[in-house]
């Protein structure tokens, strides 16, 4: 399997397992996950994300066969264009992760548009991270609503040639984005927070087509068994199961 959405690093609000490369690799081995697309979790809150992206690069450079890095950018912070260039030139990164909600901008603002234009110019895959975990459990001083689906639908429609992975979105959110978007060929979604209703994976495949659905865990925030069991239990064809588990991610990320 290929995990399309994972992190290394720590989360400020609770203790987690699988935060280091060694621990994450061990868990991946347990579940038969060959590769994972990873970002640095601390970059949700760091201001200087280049420091975090450098930490990520250093942490995984000896495991390039298992980890594909996704650098994090905040287009509201000065110098993001130069940081982007360094991530590409010095770290060889080619997947961009955005957290519009935690970083305080909307995708349809000048900042949002500029970073998506940059991604398009470089031919990146953009991971649009909708949330991190259930908003009902957030720290009382850090309540961050998920990125609105309508905003994502507008962005993917405005950039029909830019490839998007919708990450950590729930079932209804994904189907909403899909139906609201005027272009859908450039949309994929991973299933880490698709945790219902029953039959959710089958229904996603019916709505989007199995070619657009990817295995993802949101490690270390969620237990990866949720996504693994969802695929195992889904009543889909063997061919579609392989696409979701691996084939679609291999195609999207060029693995």
């Amino acid at each position: 399997m290929i995990d399309a959405n994972a992190y290394l690093g720590n989360w400020p609000f609770r203790q987690l397992r699988y935060t280091t490369p060694a621990a994450l690799l061990g868990k991946m081995d347990d579940l038969g996950i060959e590769k994972a697309v990873v970002s640095l979790l601390e970059n949700v809150f760091y201001k200087d994300m280049l420091a975090g992206n450098r930490t990520l690069h250093t942490a995984i450079k000896d495991h390039s066969d298992r980890f594909l890095p996704a650098f994090t950018l905040n287009p509201t912070f000065p110098g993001w264009e130069e940081d982007l260039a360094i991530c590409v030139r010095d770290f060889g990164m080619r997947v961009m992760r955005l957290h519009p909600n935690y970083h305080g901008y909307a995708l349809d603002t000048a900042e949002g548009t500029a970073v998506l234009e940059a991604a398009h110019a470089h031919g990146f895959v953009v991971i649009l991270t909708v949330g991190i975990e259930d908003t009902r459990h957030h720290h009382p001083l850090v309540k961050v609503p998920d990125v609105p689906g309508a905003q994502i639908a507008a962005a993917v429609s405005a950039f029909p040639n830019l490839r998007f992975l919708i990450a950590a979105e729930k079932f209804a959110g994904i189907t909403g984005i899909w139906t609201q978007s005027s272009h859908t060929e450039n949309i994929c979604a991973e299933i880490s927070r698709v945790q219902g209703p029953v039959g959710d994976i089958e229904k996603l495949c019916e709505t989007m087509g199995a070619d657009h659905v990817l295995f993802g865990t949101n490690l270390p925030l969620h237990v990866p068994e949720a996504a693994a069991l969802a695929i195992e239990h889904a009543k889909v064809s063997a061919a579609d199961r392989r696409k979701i588990a691996q084939g679609n991610a291999a195609r999207l990320f060029g693995l």
């Binding site: 975990e133 259930d134 009902r136 459990h137 945790q195 209703p197 029953v198 949720a226 969802a230």
Partner: protein, 262 residues
């Protein structure tokens, strides 16, 4: 074998896939403890259902239990605001049901309300486990929605009643601390996302003897909720206790006193 203490159904059309759930439960050998909070024609689940709506919900639950005697345990839905009617409704359901059964309470009133006391005395008499919804939401609770601290009050007031602690409090870290030290509560894993460390934390504070599997299906998938257990760092004995042995032991108390489930 798995016992799922937290399953919903609704009358009328089946947009949430109860039939799918029944088929999957058969494949995975899951016994479903089913309640209905959704009367026919309602837009959703009324927060304060009428007497007629409660009866309609329970009629549907009874019908499903009769049709699936080896798969479904009915959990009778009550509105404590109905006071005497709620007790009569429960007594009639218990008298008419020859199998295992329990009670489900949702958000009609907060569960530390004294109007629950007569219902709890009946539950103690008939050894009916009570699935009480709880949630502590940083985004704000519904009117009448019980917090884990409300359930702590109720559990202390009724030590002879066994409680399935709905959603483990929603925010399971908050719920786990509220439930600590209570011998008559069982943390229900149903609902919410499969957070890394969820079950590990509950085992640390409540021990595996006080956790039961619940899914909150069909709104939640069985896969995601089972993952909480299979992804935890616990041993096989603890896993079996959570998945079925604890709930099985609670329902077995009914069998020894009433012959239910024979």
């Amino acid at each position: 074998m798995i016992i799922d203490v937290h399953v919903h159904t609704r009358l009328g059309p089946d947009p949430y896939g109860f039939q799918y759930l029944l088929e999957q439960a058969a494949e995975l050998d899951v016994t479903l403890c089913v309640n209905s909070l959704s009367p026919e024609g309602a837009a959703g689940m009324p927060y304060d259902p009428s007497e007629e709506e409660v009866q309609q919900c329970n009629d549907w639950t009874a019908e499903l239990a009769v049709a699936n005697p080896d798969r479904i345990i009915p959990m009778w839905y009550l509105n404590p605001a109905h006071e005497d009617f709620a007790c009569r409704e429960l007594e009639q359901r218990v008298a008419a049901c020859s199998g295992l059964q329990g009670v489900k309470l949702w958000v009609a009133v907060r569960c530390n309300d004294p109007r629950l006391d007569p219902i709890m005395r009946l539950c103690a008499e008939h050894k009916l486990p009570v699935l009480q919804h709880t949630w502590f939401k940083v985004t704000g609770n519904l009117p009448g929605e019980s917090t884990p601290m409300d359930l702590r009050e109720l559990a202390l007031r009724h030590p002879d009643v066994s409680f399935f602690w709905g959603h483990s409090g929603g925010d399971y870290e908050y719920g786990a601390k509220c439930a600590r030290g209570l011998p008559n509560v069982y943390m229900d894993l149903g609902g919410g996302e499969a957070m890394n460390g969820y079950v590990d934390l509950l085992v640390e504070y409540e021990t595996a003897d006080h956790i039961v599997f619940g899914s909150d299906a069909p709104g939640r998938s069985l896969s995601s909720q089972l993952a909480k257990v299979y992804g935890a760092h616990i041993d096989d004995e603890e896993r079996e206790k959570i998945l079925y042995r604890n709930a099985q032991a609670l329902f077995a108390r009914q069998e020894t006193t009433t012959g239910a489930g024979s």
